[in-house]
């Protein structure tokens, strides 16, 4: 059967080659497309989670709705340590607002006090510097600021900034800072008004108590651990007095967008393959009609209709198999290239952001079992559906008519 089928495929080698090439091309493109989508999705997820949000956050209940300087997590330092001992990464953060003035301009800012020892274990923001360097413990009055804020204040690395605000005990908070670094695009809030500094400096500036913070950010040590499970584990550690939420709960819009992005890939896959299916259908119809005479003889000598269906399917699947091998080779090659070097979309996507998160202007592909398997599986599925009609057609031929068919 296989031998016969492969001989049939080989017999009209040009048409077979065109069909295989069309399928292989579609398959390769879809692999690249899925890999790119996968890359953008996980890139966005990384921007959300790894740049800022972390997996899980702890706040005083109500803090997120009403950002109040006094709504602090008491003894957050111990709590953070406790969470670390339970096998998570964890860091405290402190927030405050006020006015930051440069020589030429001033702007309202959000001060973000970071626990420098542990912040780098929960986020990658320290690697996201556009100019200058990251914060250092020794440099108490060094700050790293958002990209748009730097433009607004018309400042660059090394410049001085003066902060004016109000301390927790009602006095005037005033100090000067120098800019150590300027961040790349992270998220709208940080880009427009974020001033990052050492948590200790901020505590001192605002006269806030030691060992307390507004937020604890947690990252799973094992990335494969289920997020909901991890959230529950942290909840059990923390108790019910504090609000524990994971990033999907904190940012439902982005979470849903990323979830539906997979469906978008599938829809794209479907449309491309419908086009390919018509090519396959056409090719198989041609090859079947060409051989009606031959099929008639086969039926006349007692070949069962079911066997003929199998023959047509075997021919199709041989071609699909060839196509998927070629598609995989080309697709993996291209996707690997894009994974390595990325596509620079900065000319059209500069500073692009969605729902407050910045998208990386360079798109990297990401090869995964999913982005390889789905296009191939769909290719087979599509081929099988497309050939139903030609196969059924010849299976139901009446031998006498077929033999005399010209």
């Amino acid at each position: 059967m296989f031998k016969l089928a492969s001989r049939n495929v080989y017999r009209n080698s040009r048409r077979s080659a065109v069909t295989v090439a069309a399928m292989a091309f579609a398959c390769a493109m879809m692999i690249v497309f899925s890999a790119l989508m996968e890359g953008v999705i996980s890139g966005s997820e990384r921007n959300v989670v790894a740049m800022n949000t972390g997996d899980i956050q702890i706040h005083q209940p109500g803090y997120r709705d009403d950002v109040d300087l006094y709504k602090m997590i008491e003894s957050s330092t111990q709590l953070s340590e406790h969470i670390r001992q339970a096998g998570f990464f964890s860091a405290e953060r402190l927030f405050s607002f006020g006015l930051m003035a440069s020589d030429n301009s001033s702007s309202g800012v959000q001060l973000r006090g970071l626990d420098l020892k542990y912040e780098s274990t929960v986020t990658e923001i320290h690697q996201h510097i556009m100019q200058g360097t990251w914060l250092e413990k020794a440099d108490q009055n060094g700050v790293v600021i958002g990209k748009k804020l730097a433009r607004l204040l018309d400042v660059s690395v090394g410049d001085e900034l003066v902060f004016v605000g109000q301390t927790a005990d009602g006095y005037m908070a005033n100090d000067s800072f120098h800019i150590k670094g300027i961040l790349k695009s992270v998220a709208a809030g940080i880009d427009n008004s974020g001033v990052l500094m050492n948590i200790r400096t901020l505590r001192e500036l605002m006269s806030l108590p030691d060992q307390a913070a507004h937020q604890i950010v947690i990252m799973r040590a094992d990335r494969n651990q289920d997020l909901s499970q991890a959230t529950k584990a942290v909840k059990d550690l923390v108790g019910i007095e504090l609000e524990v939420m994971n990033w999907r709960q904190l940012m439902p819009v982005i979470s849903r967008f990323l979830e539906t992005a997979h469906i978008q890939t599938l829809i794209m896959l479907l449309f491309t393959y419908i086009a390919v299916a018509s090519i396959v259908l056409n090719a198989m119809l041609m090859s079947v009609f060409e051989r009606i005479h031959e099929f008639g003889i086969m039926k006349a000598i007692g070949v069962r209709p079911w066997q003929i269906v199998r023959l047509v399917y075997a021919e199709t699947l041989i071609q699909t198999l060839l196509a998927s091998i070629a598609g995989l080779v080309i697709g993996i090659g291209l996707a690997w290239y894009f994974q390595r070097y990325g596509i620079d979309m900065s000319s059209i996507a500069e500073g692009m952001s969605f729902a407050g998160i910045a998208l990386d202007p360079i798109w990297y592909a990401e090869l995964s079992i999913n982005s390889l398997f789905t296009p191939v599986a769909f290719l087979f599925l599509m081929a099988i559906i497309a050939v139903i009609y030609p196969a059924a057609k010849v299976a139901l031929l009446r031998p006498i008519e077929a033999i005399y068919h010209q």
Partner: protein, 256 residues
């Protein structure tokens, strides 16, 4: 609002006497005018010098600071913090509608931007906007006497001040109550645009200050937080003193 001048300029009710009265009050107008004039005289001066302490009590902190201030005309005010040490030398200059603050710790002068106007002034219950809006009040309200006689065992006169239609003010109306005999202010109520009480200013501790009997304590109580207040206590008040215009300049902000 006028508080800025109340505190540092001694120009308290000056603005009221300049009001244009509503038609229905034509008959009362001369009396309202003369009464308000009298209240004005309580605080009137071409220039002034004051030493005041400010106490702020909020849910989260209680603090006291002392400051001295000079004023000239309605437009120019300068004050400087004397205590606590932590903020000593911090100076604020109000010139027209602009506010500048000098920060001794960083040796910088900052002009308050519009974004900061609704921020609390020196941790008190007043906003920066309260300070700058003052000068416009005189054109913005219609005044009438809404009550006269005995209330709570005290002979009083009550004025109601309604903002004019075209006036760009944040208040819905003001009610001012004065003692009927001495014409010393007792209390002033500020209502928001929905005519709900927003804050109350109480005038107490009548003392001889600057050669006349005046309330020496002003307490501002926000209506939504009745347990909190900001209170100003006059220690010294002088009128018609000799001050140079150059005092109200950016360069004098820095001087001690």
């Amino acid at each position: 609002m006028r508080l800025f001048n109340v505190i540092f300029a001694g120009l308290f009710f000056l603005t009221l006497s300049n009001l244009v009265f509503a038609d229905s009050d034509i008959d009362h107008a001369p009396r309202v005018q003369s009464l308000l004039n009298e209240i004005d005289d309580l605080w009137r001066g071409k220039s002034s010098y004051a030493v005041t302490s400010m106490q702020v009590k909020t849910e989260h902190y209680t603090r006291t600071m002392r400051m001295e201030g000079w004023s000239k005309g309605k437009e120019k005010t300068l004050f400087r913090i004397l205590e606590p040490l932590r903020e000593k030398g911090t100076a604020t200059l109000k010139s027209g509608h602009h506010i500048y603050t000098y920060l001794p710790k960083t040796d910088r002068t900052i002009k308050l931007t519009s974004g900061m106007m609704m921020g609390a002034w020196m941790g008190s219950h007043l906003t920066n906007d309260d300070l700058v809006k003052e000068a416009r009040l005189e054109e913005d309200y219609d005044a009438s006497i809404s009550f006269e006689g005995e209330r709570d065992g005290q002979n009083i006169i009550e004025f109601t001040l309604i903002p004019k239609l075209e006036a760009a003010v944040v208040w819905g109306k003001l009610i001012l109550i004065i003692q009927a005999e001495s014409h010393i202010p007792v209390v002033e109520y500020y209502f928001d645009e929905d005519m709900l009480l927003a804050r109350t200013i109480l005038f107490t501790d009548i003392k001889t200050l600057g050669g006349r009997e005046r309330p020496s304590v002003l307490r501002v109580v926000p209506a939504d937080k009745p347990d909190e207040y900001t209170q100003f206590v006059y220690e010294q008040l002088q009128f018609d003193i000799d001050v140079r215009d150059s005092l109200f300049s950016l360069s004098s902000l820095k001087k001690r």
